[in-house]
C-alpha cells in the first residue's frame, strides 16, 4: 500500500516561484492545509459550489488550490486570485467540517497574500477600497461626516436630482441599485442621540458594553438606540464606550489584517476601560470578527490575554437576552392592524456559523404574541451580501439573491427579518428587484416595535 498511497502527480511542478507563490507559502497555515482530508462534506454547505457545481468553487477545491500553490504544484495565476475572491466568506463550511479545518483563516491568509501582489482590481474597487478601508471605516468621526453628507444628499433633493438626471447610470448598475435602497443616513450616532450610559430597568443583571458598529451607527442609528432600550428592559446597564472604532471585519476578510489588528487593539482598550461584563453587538458581521480577536492577535503576546478577555465577552443581542437577560414581553403592535403578521428570518452567516447563534433569534421571534413565525427554507444559506461581496462580485451575488427571494416567496411572510446590516440591505435589494411589498427589518427594530415596556 505504501507505494500506492504515496503516488503523486508527475506533471506540472513549478521550479521557479513567483512572488505571490512565495508569499502564499509563508502565510498559509500548513497544519490547516494538511487537516483537510478532502472528505467533501463541506461541498453541500457551500453556496458558490451549489450555484455552479464546480469543484474549484468549493471549500475543498479552494483548499486544494491553496495547497497546490504551497506545494509548488501550481502557479497562482489570475484565475487563482479570482477563485479566492469568489468565496463569500460565509463560513458555512466550518460547522460542516468533521476535521475542524479553519477555512475562514485560510481564505483570509490567501487574500492577505494576494492583496500584497494583485494588479487586477477594477478601478472602482481599488478606489473604494483605499478610501473606505484606510480613510473612513477606521475613524468614526469621518463615518459620521459621511453620514451627514449622505443625509444631506438624501434630504436636499440632490438624490432626486441625481436619479432624475441619469447620473446614476454612470455607476455600474448594481451600485446604482444599492444607492436606491439605502436607508436614510444620519450624521448623529447613538451616543449623540441618547448619551453613553443607561440604567437597567428593575434589578440589574450586569453591565453590557454596546458595540455600535461603524456602518450601523450611521445607516441604522435607530437600531442602535433600540438595542440599548431592549437591553435595559432586559435588566442590563448599558455603556457605549466613546473610543470604540470599526470592528475591522472588512479589513480582515479582504487581506488587510494589520489594519484589522490595529482596530482590534483600540476596541479592546475602550471596552476594558469601560469595565463591562458583556459586549453586545447587533451585527453578525461585526460580532464574528469580535469573537475572533483572540485569534487575530494570537501572535501579539502583549495583547493576547486582553484579546481573550474581550472575545469571551462578545455576544449577539439575541443570545444575551435569551441566555442572561429577563426576556421582555412582546405583543403584536397596533400598527399591524387586523392583518395577520407572518415573519420569516434570514440567518446572518457570520452570526450562525462563527458566533454559532441560530437558536436565540428564533426563540425571541417565536415569543411575540399575535405574530406567526415561519421558518425560511435554507435560511442558513448566504443571501449573497457577504460584506462587500455584493459590490465586488455582483453576478454571483445576484444569482444567490434570486434563489433566496424564491424561497422567501414560499413562506407567505409579510416581514423578512435579519440580524446584520449587510444582510438587511441585501434582502431589501432582493425585495426591490422582485417588486415585492414585504417589509425587511432588523430583528431588533421589529422586536422593539412590539415591546411591552415595564412601568
Amino acid at each position: 500500500m505504501a507505494e500506492n498511497r504515496q503516488q503523486s502527480a508527475g506533471t506540472g511542478t513549478i521550479t521557479k516561484l513567483n512572488p505571490l507563490a512565495e508569499k502564499l507559502q509563508l502565510r498559509l497555515d500548513e497544519d490547516q492545509l494538511t487537516n483537510c482530508m478532502r472528505c467533501g462534506f463541506c461541498l453541500p454547505a457551500c453556496p458558490t459550489f451549489r450555484e455552479t457545481g464546480i469543484e474549484a468553487e468549493s471549500p475543498r477545491g479552494r483548499i486544494a488550490l491553496m495547497k497546490a500553490v504551497a506545494d509548488g504544484l501550481m502557479d497562482p495565476d489570475a484565475a487563482f486570485e479570482e477563485q479566492m475572491n469568489h468565496c463569500l466568506g460565509c463560513r458555512a463550511c466550518e460547522p460542516a467540517c468533521p476535521a475542524d479545518v479553519k477555512y475562514g483563516q485560510l481564505i483570509e491568509q490567501a487574500r492577505d497574500a494576494i492583496e500584497d501582489h494583485t494588479t487586477s482590481h477594477r478601478w472602482w474597487v481599488k478606489g473604494l477600497r483605499k478610501t473606505m478601508f484606510r480613510g473612513v471605516f477606521p475613524k468614526q468621526e469621518r463615518m459620521q461626516l459621511l453620514g451627514r453628507a449622505m443625509s444631506l444628499y438624501q434630504r436636499s433633493g440632490l438624490q432626486r436630482l441625481a436619479r432624475g438626471s441619469g447620473l446614476m447610470k454612470l455607476l455600474p448598475s448594481h451600485l446604482a441599485e444599492m444607492e436606491a435602497i439605502l436607508p436614510p443616513a444620519s450624521g448623529q450616532g447613538v451616543i449623540e442621540r441618547i448619551g453613553d450610559r443607561h440604567r437597567a430597568k428593575g434589578e440589574r443583571i450586569g453591565t453590557v458594553g454596546l458595540f455600535r458598529g461603524c456602518i450601523m451607527d450611521v445607516m441604522f442609528t435607530d437600531t442602535n438606540v433600540k438595542t440599548v432600550e431592549l437591553l435595559t428592559e432586559a435588566g442590563f446597564d448599558v455603556v457605549i464606550p466613546k473610543a470604540q472604532q470599526c470592528c475591522g471585519a472588512l479589513h480582515a476578510h479582504s487581506g488587510e489584517p494589520e489594519e484589522a489588528r490595529s482596530l482590534a487593539r483600540g476596541n479592546i482598550e475602550a471596552f476594558k476601560q469601560a469595565g463591562v461584563d458583556y459586549i453586545a453587538t447587533n451585527a453578525g458581521g461585526c460580532g464574528a470578527i469580535l469573537v475572533e480577536y483572540d485569534h487575530l492577535l494570537h501572535e501579539d503576546y502583549k495583547w493576547e490575554a486582553d484579546a481573550k478577555w474581550f472575545a469571551s465577552r462578545v455576544m449577539d443581542i439575541s443570545d444575551l437576552l435569551v441566555r442572561y437577560g429577563r426576556i421582555p414581553r412582546f405583543l403584536e403592535s397596533a400598527a399591524d392592524g387586523d392583518k395577520q403578521v407572518r415573519i420569516t428570518y434570514q440567518d446572518s452567516c457570520h452570526l450562525r456559523n462563527v458566533m454559532r447563534s441560530a437558536d436565540a433569534p428564533r426563540t425571541l421571534m417565536r415569543q411575540i404574541e399575535g405574530v406567526a413565525y415561519v421558518e425560511l427554507p435554507e435560511a442558513d444559506r448566504c443571501c449573497g451580501s457577504a460584506g462587500i461581496y455584493n459590490i465586488t462580485q455582483p453576478e454571483m451575488a445576484a444569482s444567490l439573491l434570486e434563489g433566496k427571494m424564491a424561497q422567501v416567496e414560499t413562506t407567505g411572510a409579510t416581514h423578512v427579518l435579519t440580524s446584520n446590516p449587510g444582510c438587511l440591505l441585501q434582502m431589501k435589494l432582493g425585495e426591490h428587484r422582485c417588486g415585492g411589498s414585504r417589509q425587511v427589518e432588523h430583528l431588533v427594530d421589529f422586536l422593539h416595535e412590539r415591546l411591552v415596556k415595564q412601568l
Partner: protein, 471 residues
C-alpha cells in the same frame, strides 16, 4: 495535455462549457476522499446527457485516452484519482430524477443526482430508499452504484446492489447498453446489472439507473448498551440474530473510540467500558416495542453494564450522538485520518477487534475501531500525519496485517468502500489467483484497451502476504 485534435473533438461534443483543462480545474480533480493520493488529469468534462457521454467515449476510444468517471469524489479507496492521467468525467450535470413510478415502486434517475436529495424526494412521496452511506449529503447515486455503497441500514435493508434493478451504461467503445428494468424477476442471461454495481467505473460509465423503492417503516426506537467485556458485546450481537431479530441498526464503538468520543463531545461515557452497542429497530409500532424489549433483555443476560432505551426522539438523538460523533472526533485527533472497512462474519467481531488492537500495539500506531457490528463491517481508523513518512509506513504495515487477519477469520479486505487503488495489491489475497484471472478476463471483455479507470482493482503485482506472528 491532450492533443489539439482530441481537445477540439471533445469541445465539439460538449461545447466550451462542458470542457475544461485550465490548471485550476486539473488540480481540483486530482484527488478524492482518500488521504495522500494526487494525480493530475489532462482534462475534465461535464456531459449533459447519455449521448454526450457516448460521443466523448468514442473520441477517447479512437485515441486510446483513459477516462475516469466520477460523482462528488468522496470515495475512500482512491477510486477516482486519475493515476494514468487522461480525462475525468464529472457527472454532476446529469442530476435529474427522471421518474418515480408509484405503480411499480421504482425510481429512474441520472447518476449525478445527490443521494440525500433523492432520499428526501422519495420520502416526501411516502417511500423509502434505504442505502445511507455517511457521505450521502454529497455523494451521488452513480458513485454509490459504482462503489456499491453500504451504510448504517445495511444489516436489515441491504446495500446499494439490493436496490439497483436496471441500468443504462456507456461501454468503452462508446456503445450504449441497457440492463434489467422495472422488474422484480429477470433471469434473462447473466446478471449484468449486478456485475456493473460495484465495478468502480472499470467496466462502463453508468448513465441512468432504475432503483427499487420500498414502503417506509412506521415507527423507530433506539437503545444503547455498554459492556465492560468485549466478548459480552459480541455475543449480544450473535444472540440478537439467533433470536431471529434483525435490527435496523446495530452499531459498535470500541474502547479507544469511546475515549476519543467522550473527550470530544463531553458525554460523560464510562471510560472503562470495552464496548458500546447502539441498536435501533423500526417497523410496525408493536413489533418495534416487542423487539426492543427482547433485545434489552438479551443485552442484560449477556452482562451489559448499562442498558438505556430512549423514550422519545430527543433522547434517541442523544444516544445516537456517541456513534455519530465517532468519525468527527477521530478526524480532529491528528491531521490525517485513514478509514478502512475490513469485514468479518458477525460472529467474529470480538476476535477481529482484538486482532486490530494487537496489531495497532505491535506497530505502535493509533487505531480506533467503530462500525456496523450487525453486518460485521468494521471501520478500523488510523489517526496519523501524512508528513511523517516513517509513521505512515507503520500504518500501512498495520493495515496489511489487519486485512490478512480479516481474511483469516473468513472475512474480506473491504465491505463497502471498494478496492480502487489502495486495496488493489490485496485483492488477490481475497479472491485468489484464479479469481483475479477471471476478473481480468471480464475486464478485458468490457474494456480491451483498459481505458476505463485504469490502475484500479488490478495492481501491477499483488503484495506478499503478511505472516501473522503472535510474538
Amino acid at each position: 495535455m491532450l492533443k489539439a485534435e482530441v481537445r477540439d473533438a471533445l469541445i465539439a461534443v460538449l461545447g466550451t462549457n462542458g470542457y475544461k483543462d485550465d490548471s485550476q480545474t486539473l488540480v481540483t480533480h486530482s484527488y478524492d476522499g482518500t488521504p495522500m493520493l494526487q494525480a493530475l488529469p489532462d482534462a475534465v468534462v461535464y456531459p449533459a446527457d447519455t449521448a454526450q457521454v457516448a460521443a466523448v467515449m468514442k473520441v477517447l476510444h479512437e485515441h486510446r485516452i483513459p477516462l475516469v468517471s466520477r460523482g462528488s469524489g468522496t470515495n475512500l479507496c482512491g477510486g477516482t484519482v486519475p493515476v494514468q492521467g487522461g480525462v475525468v468525467m464529472v457527472m454532476h450535470r446529469m442530476n435529474r430524477i427522471l421518474e418515480v413510478d408509484l405503480e411499480n415502486l421504482t425510481a429512474t434517475v441520472q447518476p449525478g443526482l445527490i443521494t440525500k436529495q433523492f432520499i428526501t424526494h422519495v420520502e416526501s412521496l411516502g417511500l423509502f430508499y434505504p442505502p445511507d452511506p455517511s457521505s450521502m449529503a454529497i455523494s451521488t447515486i452513480g458513485g454509490n452504484i459504482a462503489e456499491c455503497s453500504g451504510g448504517l441500514r445495511g444489516l436489515k435493508y441491504g446495500t446499494t446492489k439490493d436496490y439497483v434493478i436496471g441500468l443504462e451504461a456507456v461501454l468503452a467503445s462508446g456503445e450504449i447498453i441497457r440492463t434489467g428494468g422495472k422488474l422484480m424477476k429477470d433471469v434473462a442471461g447473466y446478471d449484468l446489472t449486478k456485475l456493473l454495481v460495484g465495478s468502480e467505473g472499470t467496466l462502463a460509465v453508468i448513465t441512468e439507473a432504475t432503483l427499487k423503492l420500498i414502503p417506509p417503516p412506521k415507527a423507530k426506537k433506539t437503545m444503547l448498551a455498554m459492556y465492560s467485556d468485549l466478548y459480552d458485546a459480541a455475543r449480544t450481537v450473535s444472540k440478537i440474530i439467533e433470536n431471529r431479530i434483525i435490527p435496523a441498526t446495530l452499531e459498535f464503538l470500541d474502547n479507544p473510540t469511546i475515549r476519543v468520543v467522550d473527550e470530544f463531545a463531553g458525554l460523560g461515557l464510562p471510560l472503562d467500558m470495552a464496548a458500546i452497542l447502539l441498536i435501533e429497530q423500526d417497523g410496525e409500532p408493536e413489533l418495534v416495542e416487542r423487539d426492543i424489549a427482547l433485545m434489552a433483555s438479551i443485552c442484560r443476560n449477556e452482562h451489559a453494564d448499562r442498558v438505556t432505551v430512549a423514550e422519545d426522539a430527543a433522547e434517541a438523538l442523544k444516544l445516537l450522538t456517541a456513534r455519530r460523533s465517532a468519525f468527527t472526533a477521530l478526524a480532529r485527533l491528528r491531521p490525517t485520518t485513514i478509514l478502512e472497512d475490513a469485514t468479518v462474519p458477525r460472529s467474529k467481531i470480538a476476535d477481529m477487534v482484538l486482532e486490530i488492537n494487537r496489531i495497532a500495539a505491535k506497530y505502535e500506531v493509533n487505531i480506533c475501531t467503530f462500525g456496523h457490528a450487525g453486518d460485521g463491517n468494521l471501520h478500523p481508523t488510523a489517526t496519523t500525519d501524512a508528513r511523517n513518512p516513517e509513521e505512515i509506513h507503520r500504518v500501512e504495515e498495520a493495515f496489511a496485517e489487519i486485512f490478512e487477519a480479516a481474511i483469516a477469520l473468513g472475512g474480506t479486505i473491504t465491505g463497502e468502500h471498494g478496492v480502487g487503488l489502495v486495496k488493489a495489491p490485496y485483492l488477490e489475497w481475497k479472491v485468489g489467483v484464479e479469481g483475479m484471472a477471471l476478473m481480468q478476463g471480464i475486464k478485458n471483455t468490457f474494456d480491451p484497451h483498459h481505458l476505463l479507470n485504469p490502475g484500479k482493482l488490478f495492481a501491477k503485482s499483488a503484495r506478499r502476504r503478511v505472516v501473522i506472528d503472535r510474538g
